[in-house]
Symmetry: C2
Subunit: 448 residues, 2 copies
């Protein structure tokens, strides 16, 4: 991604003064999107969705589409469905994509709390990955056709029914890949692959610790470790997920809620680990560093410990910051260790991202990796989707669907969820979320 500008799809041109947000909350206080999208875009033009047709149709202001909008920092209720008017127009080098599925990432939870600086200030449409079908081409686009199924990687603003994005940020989906899988792929698998093979140089026979092993990155890491012979994977997750992650390739699942994971690892591997991936930050980074064997590599790729409850928690942030791992090079020399930071959002190497994404798609075709979909939620259920991830109830990826939820007879759309797209939404959520665990302080990892 060559910069914020290129990566962010167009902001919508007009916002309807109505909402189909199922919570029925009024949009008072939310500015029109025309106020929030400087520099002003040219007026949206009509896009006839006929393959190959030139983009010279008259302005079609009547076109509307649904988008999720972060209306301010705070809890789950800050992300609302809004209806935008005016079809996005693919500029030169861009394609218009009809979005079928979107990925939810931990960074989106941070963004909602105002803790993710790469997300512009509200009101803004979040969303860094999606999949869909190309509906129109801008000028000078090569290698893409109307009707192509693609997955899309961006910086934000992909959670909407249609998006105009640079063609270079789209990747053709393998035939056997579902839209949900495609939306689950870019962020988690790029992150996992680059950490393992670009930074850590993981090799056959080595050992690795991955936290949140049942999360999107955790599962991607576990699958990619299986592409090498004899990698020992230590993975932290709550006990209820151990069977699943074991089947996925985690050699030693550890319940971080009831045990000190560092002690457990030292019992099994007293000499330490070759690689530790740390998405937590704070005091866990210190533990991670101490678990490395000489010549080992620590990669910090998040600060999940900053997030506790729904809203920004200054105490948790202060603790995470206070415990932030700082090291000088003399100490590193004395212990022969490597400390790395990774954040896909800050990586602006288009060539490397494209190369890696193509490697991943090839691994998918070979059957070596396959995104695991935890659950799917319609846009109007985004709060539930975020809660599921926030409370660590997911095993695999949480997916958002732009299409409106169809109410079935006798069902109340606000209380029940139906299986979608072949995946069961929030499968078993009720059983897993035990009383007390959803409390703000309980959700936080015990050891912090």
């Amino acid at each position: 991604m060559s910069g914020e500008e290129a990566a962010a799809p167009q902001q919508p041109d007009q916002t309807e003064e109505r909402t189909d947000d199922p919570t029925g909350e009024p949009l008072s206080g939310v500015p029109k999107s025309s106020e929030i999208s400087p520099p002003a875009e040219e007026p949206a033009e009509a896009l006839e969705a006929h393959p190959g047709e030139a983009l010279d149709a008259p302005v079609e202001d009547e076109f509307t589409y649904r988008a999720l909008v972060l209306t301010g920092y705070g809890g789950y209720d800050k992300v609302k469905v809004q209806v935008k008017r005016g079809k996005p127009h693919p500029k030169s080098g861009e394609v218009l994509v009809r979005v079928k599925a979107c990925g939810l990432n931990f960074a989106d939870l941070l963004g909602r709390q105002g803790l993710y600086e790469l997300l512009p200030a509200p009101p803004v449409t979040p969303g860094m990955e999606c999949s869909g079908v190309i509906e129109a081409l801008g000028e000078e686009v090569t290698g893409r056709q109307v009707g192509d199924r693609v997955l899309v990687l961006g910086r934000h603003s992909l959670w909407q029914e249609v998006v105009a994005v640079p063609a270079s940020q789209t990747f053709l989906m393998p035939e056997s890949m579902s839209f949900e899988e495609a939306a689950a792929m870019p962020i988690n698998y790029l992150t996992a692959y680059m950490m393992l093979f670009e930074m850590a140089n993981l090799r056959a026979g080595q050992s690795i610790l991955v936290h949140m092993a049942a999360g999107g990155v955790g599962i991607a890491v576990t699958q990619l470790c299986q592409t090498l012979e004899g990698v020992t994977v230590f993975g932290t997750a709550s006990a209820s997920k151990h069977e699943t992650i074991s089947q996925g390739g985690v050699t030693h699942p550890i319940d971080y809620r009831t045990r000190d994971y560092a002690e457990e690892i030292r019992k099994i591997s007293p000499t330490g680990l070759d690689v530790v991936l740390d998405p937590l930050g704070g005091s866990d980074t210190h533990k991670a560093f101490s678990l490395l064997k000489p010549m080992g590599t620590l990669i910090v790729f998040g600060a999940a410990n900053c997030v506790t409850g729904q809203k920004k928690n200054l105490l948790a942030m202060a603790k995470t910051w206070y415990n932030q791992f700082t090291i000088n090079t003399l100490r590193l020399m004395h212990v022969n260790k490597a400390v790395c930071g990774f954040h896909l959002g800050y990586l602006e190497d288009d060539e490397l991202i494209t190369k890696t994404m193509n490697v991943l798609l090839e691994l998918y075709v070979q059957g070596k990796i396959k995104p695991r979909i935890d659950s799917t939620y319609h846009f109007e259920q985004v709060g539930d989707a975020m809660r599921r991830m926030h409370e660590r109830n997911n095993i695999g990826k949480v997916i958002l669907l732009p299409e409106p939820k169809m109410e079935k007879e006798g069902e109340n759309s606000e209380e029940k969820a139906s299986p979608e797209s072949g995946e069961t939404k929030a499968k078993g959520e009720e059983e897993e979320v035990k009383k007390g665990e959803t409390d703000q302080e309980e959700v936080k990892r015990e050891e912090n």
Copy 2:
């Protein structure tokens, strides 16, 4: 190396009360080595140098051998030749090596100044690498025979005519390898190889900066980079060495004395470098970090900036420490970079060291690497040898020879040096050491 105990050869049992130090300095104030070698070794036994003979000969106290001894921290004159009495006895698992050549390393200069904590307090025999011929075997030694030509890696105490060392720290020399080459190999090439391929994961087509490109590690790094396709090597060295290092494979030699190397590199490679190897420390580490491209790796493997004059320089140390590079993981995430420390002396992974040494010996046999010998000095000339390295006049490795210098007719041994072992000692030293450059402040790199 599994620890200090295992790696340090026996201390000599007795010190002769005389010296053949050509400077003729009395050894007043230097304690007998029997005072300096706790725990007391068993009395040295005689070692008949007949292959296969059992080590049950009577004690041969009359056996004497020469060793270099650091008698106290300070200038070049603190390292003296002493004659030890009593042949070292190879314990179980050890071999006795008749030493033919020893390597001089930057750490030896630090050690002399009291800046290398892995060297025990004086009086002590320095020396971390040598080559020679196995003269006797301890019990339970397999895979080695009397008469084998070996190179030896240790923590210290190898600068003596005979040493008893664990057989596991010896490696059979290829037939075509000279003793000087063998003594030049372990420290520099292990350091270079592990940094490039274990830590940095250098790959074809990448770019790298190596400081002191004409030094032992610099030349090893340059040669190892040639084993990959299309690696761009930036190397700093004074202008007089550019032709030589260019021929060796440095793509862009940079005279750090007359130019800002960081500016020069940015002109040629504006996006930065994949790998920077930093043996300097202090403010140069900051420059190194800023020169990295995203996903780039910095490896700090020394603090040469601490060393200015012959003796410990508190100001230089303070500056280096004050400027010591410290980083927190949040910043690393924002820039997607890796920071590593490497120091062979602190690495206790015998298996990795052995594996890597064998890879290096195979690369030597294939003709892909070949240590470059700058100059050879007899033990009694160790001060000159250290001065040559200290003043950065060497191109390649400085070697020490245990055998006494043979005086030729009409020559004064203290003022002139003769070519030895097929290598010219301190070739062209007089021309290269320009007036003023040997001054303590001038020797220091200008940019610090």
